[in-house]
Symmetry: none
Subunit: 221 residues, 4 copies
DNA sequence: CATGAATGAGAGTTCATTCAT
DNA sequence: CATGAATGAACTCTCATTCAT
């Protein structure tokens, strides 16, 4: 049922197998309902080996969070090109985000659902990642203000709130896109981009933000 | 510490005491870490009575989710007056939402953190509430379109995505507002209203949406 | 195999059954080798009940030590009549000691072998009992000195050493008497009394201490 | 921290290193709490080598007991000179005993605390040593009787009991001396010699046994 | 109804022990 | 020989759940 069983692998490889199994199990069952037995079996190893390499359920969970957080952050960062205008940067970042979460739903569940829900040590790991991304977004918002030749008199907390709202909307749309068949990462990104950049008011007034045409995948149906 | 112990109360009252205790315990400890012992003690009743009335931990948790979901939905619905213009309706709905979640943090934690995190049966309950609120928001968006004298060529799914984004942003800001000292429900609502209605683009261009003045609570300190 | 299984007993009774089983198991297997499973089975209850009543293996062990220490101390104290001369008091105390340890070998093993061997918390319990008995013996030694009309210029530490030696000899003889078939408590007491009171020197010189004749059991063969 | 690591040592040497580490670990942690990992690390060898040389934890423990028992027996035997009068022989033997146990506390803990406490196979090893020493003491008692020109009508079992008592008192005093700062081996031996030879009766009557003056170590500070 | 007594099932964790290299 | 990789079996402890009274 789990990975193909093969003996005597170097530690680093086994550890990744374990983390794979753990992310999947934590993501699907939840932190507390996931049992070390199940994780070990899915990883194709015995339980003592899991403990030998990763010490405890808490440490294993933390390792999962760290790995997934790093992967997600890296994916988003890789998508953003700092030379582009602010709206294009946001667009690229969102696309990377939705693509990554769609391809890695268990990892996303670990971060989004499990890490926050099970106490400080884990929530702190998640918060660290969230703040890193929120900082990115905040930079974007300020850059957009500069591009609009305005020194935004928005107080710092207001900007933080906006970033929070944007990240929350993205998180929510990621879950929605994963759960709704036929919604692509690109479409989710477009929806959010419209929402965030133009605002409902402009949208309703017929002034949507328009995504740049890309050669690789046609948008018009 | 728990409810005042008194004998022979009608079943409905006892049940509410149990749900109160359960919501508090689930909200603070989490679903799995909460023990039936603790809930029974906090409710001031014996454990077998909890089982007599609510059958099992799962059923008890489901009952909590249902009650809190109904209360939140009702609060939002009560805040919205269908005669107002769309943006005012949204504004009132958001205010009601942030006020309710701020006053009822354990209930909100049960919904936002616990219900989604512990498997299908519970997540479905949460999703039902979410969709009810999203439907409300969808109506608002369509109403806004009508007010703008435009038949929006936005496909149904696009509107659903916008509603999803708005709800997600609200959820995220509720947690942020609860966790950040000094942020009131009104401020959270204003931040989100700005973000949603005007959009980042307009905001950066210096065209924010402005909340209506209200007599009931002075803003200047 | 264990006690007759009967359900629904009052807590106090069940607790004693558990302690009985625990003393027997700890005494025979040793603290660490004894498993809670075995103790529970021998007590005729389920493991969770043991934990419900006695909290943990450590607490259970401590409870065993306390119970057995109290029983032994009480037995010795009950045997000693303060009105008798010092040598008779010592004689009675030793008889009580050997009788009790012979009738209760598992309890004695718990005290003598297990309590000292498994770390401070337990050793301290044992030491407390040991010091209580040593204090009794010390009083006896000083009383003997008074009876001999001498103010013993033995330093305090010397007296402590003598008490330690006497208690150690008694402990050793108790194990020996239990292990050697046909050695009665009375005989063990006589041997130790001779050794302690007369000393090897006097014994070899043909001047033994002679136990008082008792009606119940004839001494001469 | 452990032994200096160096390759290719003859088997006998490696084995002694392992036994050194094992005695130390068993003595300080106890048999069950001592882990083979810790012992191997302290010995500076790999775990499989420990198994190659010593087969199992049980065998390793048995080997420790045997080595320490032999060392202690040898030390006592070496201290006794058969030409001396009986009391002097006893005195020398006790001094050797207390000196050895004081210098080798871990080995003594293995014998005195661990060997007896963990089941028959080990207790038997300890008992064997104990009987060897007790036999030595028995000879001494009989020699003392001969010196007193008396054919003691003490039955064989009585003599065995006396030896047992003496050995037990010595064991107890060894632990006491090790645990009480400032008590030397010589003082412990003197206390026991007084107790055993003169008896409490003579001691209280002001007729102690007096240790011979020795040139080797000055007593006055 | 309310309660104390009781448990089946399973959780995380550790350890002595072995093999392939 | 030495080592890293690996495990079967056992342990302590917890919890949702149910009777008998």
């Amino acid at each position: 049922m789990g990975a193909v069983k093969s003996k005597r692998m170097p530690r680093a490889v086994r550890e990744q197998q374990m983390l794979d199994a753990a992310v999947r199990t934590f993501g699907q069952r939840g932190y507390m309902a996931a049992s070390m037995d199940e994780i070990a079996e899915l990883a194709g190893v015995s339980k003592p080996l899991v403990y030998l390499y990763l010490n405890s359920k808490e440490d294993l969970f933390t390792a999962c969070i760290r790995r997934e957080a790093a992967a997600l952050t890296e994916a988003v960062r890789a998508g953003v090109h700092p030379d582009l205008p602010a709206d294009r940067q946001l667009w690229e970042g969102l696309r990377a985000f939705f693509t990554h979460t769609a391809r890695n739903p268990d990892g996303w569940a670990v971060l989004h659902l499990q890490a926050r829900t099970h106490g400080e040590p884990f929530a702190a790991e998640f918060t660290a990642m969230r703040e890193e991304i929120a900082a990115l977004v905040t930079q974007l918002i300020l850059a957009a203000a500069r591009e609009a030749h305005r020194d935004p008199d928005l107080p710092e907390r207001e900007v933080a709130g906006l970033a929070e709202a944007l990240v929350g909307a993205a998180e929510s749309l990621a879950a929605w896109a994963n759960a709704t068949p036929g919604v692509t990462a690109r479409q989710a990104a477009a929806t959010l981009m419209n929402f965030a950049w133009a605002g409902l008011g402009d949208l309703m007034a017929g002034r949507p933000w328009s995504p740049p045409e890309e050669p690789e995948r046609a948008q018009a149906g």
